[in-house]
Amino acid sequence: MSRLNDPNAQARPASRSAVLPVALTVGVIVAVLAVLPAWSHAPAAGDMTAVSAPADPWAGFNRRAFKFNAFLDRAVIGPVARVYKRVTPAPVRKGVGNIVSNLREPSTAINGLVQGRPKLTIRAVARFVANSTVGVLGIFDVAGRAGLEREHADFGQTLGRYGVSNGPYLYLPVVGPTTLRDGLGGVVNTLIDPISLATGGPATDFAAGRVVVRGVDARADADEALRTINEDSTDPYATTRSAYLQHRAAVVRESTGEIEALPDFDEPVNVPPSPDEFSPIPPADAPTPLVQGPGS
């Protein structure tokens, strides 16, 4: 039985035996991430050089995962999201999106604290309290209407704020685009998420349901963008990678306040080749190195 289904479970404080593995896991991940700056393929400007060749040493694996997800999306996820969009009235979808978003506020508050952004923390706490009560469990974004605009923070962003670079780009089956930093940051985020901890951890039915609802909601929202990418891109994989990395760089800039470094439109961009860019796409059965060292 999951902890959520156990009527006594929620009243129990997290035991030391449960906290220790979480703390150890978080510690190991942070230690791994600490070496990422040395792994970065990006120049000293870090995330700011949006058009430098992306660090994609695992392109072979990534492209196969991309194909797999495209198949999965055509067969299952896309149709489910479109049916959800078709049968659910827009106000209901908006309410569901608000609930999902509201459950991220405690995590935002913690990351705001770690990032040294007390205003963000205070706003997230205020939003969570207002929307969970007056906003009926987060269905209505009453805080937003009162001027407390939504701004999420996550552990990947926190790491970026403190100078940890993206590391290699990673495209995972089912999960989709991420980077080594953001992927491991996501794991830490899940482990330290107050909502997750308060409801028994990431292995409960509640946590699984939350992931599914969040996924379907996000997929429904992204339907048109994905269609545009698939129909208009000459290389949907490269387009997805570019859009994801630019978006995450923008998220990190939100936390640092840095101004984006943009390429010059007068001169063609002189980019060094990445391993992905000067070699043809490897055949599907070619072995893919899962780990490569610096400079690979």
């Binding site: 058009v51 992306p54 208009d232 490269a238 570019s242 630019q246 978006h247 007068d266």
Partner: protein, 214 residues
């Protein structure tokens, strides 16, 4: 694509007339440039985006236009407002210098049609119809990022969109548009360069794909 009716739509003709009036008026721009220098903003560029960006959304949300008329009107706007020549060089990235003059001409023709359609799809996806300028950052006297918010979408959300504008009053051109941190031209460059890389440097493959709409 069905777009929500705008609550207070300015007609396309009115917007064009406004744009023309602004282009002919030098008084406001000189004063605005002087103010820009003090604030780090570029008010003439902001005005340019306010007028021309609004024109784009007005065309996209104009239900009185049929699909063909809407497409034609939008493409004329893009031709006037965007610097397609400069964008077409930019999106080729490291291949811009390697391309032959004949291929370049062929690419420019194909790219123009492609990017006109892409801008139309991209901006229509925002599903808004009212554009508000919220500020700008002058990166140099001739390079400005204008920040706007698109209102009027069915879900009530205001969407921030940034426009990169090059040039000076009277010769402003849009070279890139950004939403959710993603620049359209930068994304296109990485898309195209990857396609050419995977074709072992054969730019003809990219041109063929753009032509066929793959």
């Amino acid at each position: 694509m069905i777009l929500p009716p705008p609550p207070d739509r300015r007609s396309f003709v009115t917007s064009l007339a406004t744009a023309s009036a602004l282009a002919w008026s030098g008084l406001w721009s000189s004063a605005a440039v002087a103010q820009s220098g003090r604030s780090g903003r570029n008010l003439p560029a902001e005005q340019f985006v306010q007028v021309e960006g609004q024109n784009m959304f007005s065309v996209l949300s104009d239900r009185s236009l049929g699909d063909a008329a809407k497409q034609a009107a939008f493409r004329r706007l893009i031709d006037r407002v965007a610097d397609l020549q400069r964008i077409s060089g930019f999106v080729l990235g490291k291949y811009a210098r390697a391309i032959s003059p004949a291929q370049r001409q062929q690419f420019n023709t194909v790219f123009r049609t492609y990017v006109q359609g892409l801008y139309q799809t991209y901006l229509a996806n925002f599903r808004g119809d009212q554009l508000r300028v919220t500020g700008s950052t002058a990166r140099s006297p001739t390079d400005t990022i204008v920040n706007t918010v698109i209102d009027g979408a069915a879900d009530g959300r205001a969407l921030p969109v940034a426009w990169r504008v090059l040039g000076s009053p009277g010769s402003f051109k849009v070279v890139d548009v950004q939403a959710s941190g993603v620049w359209l031209a930068i994304t296109l460059q990485q898309d195209f360069v990857s396609t050419i890389d995977n074709a072992r440097g054969d730019i003809g493959v990219l041109i063929a794909r753009l032509q066929s709409g793959d």
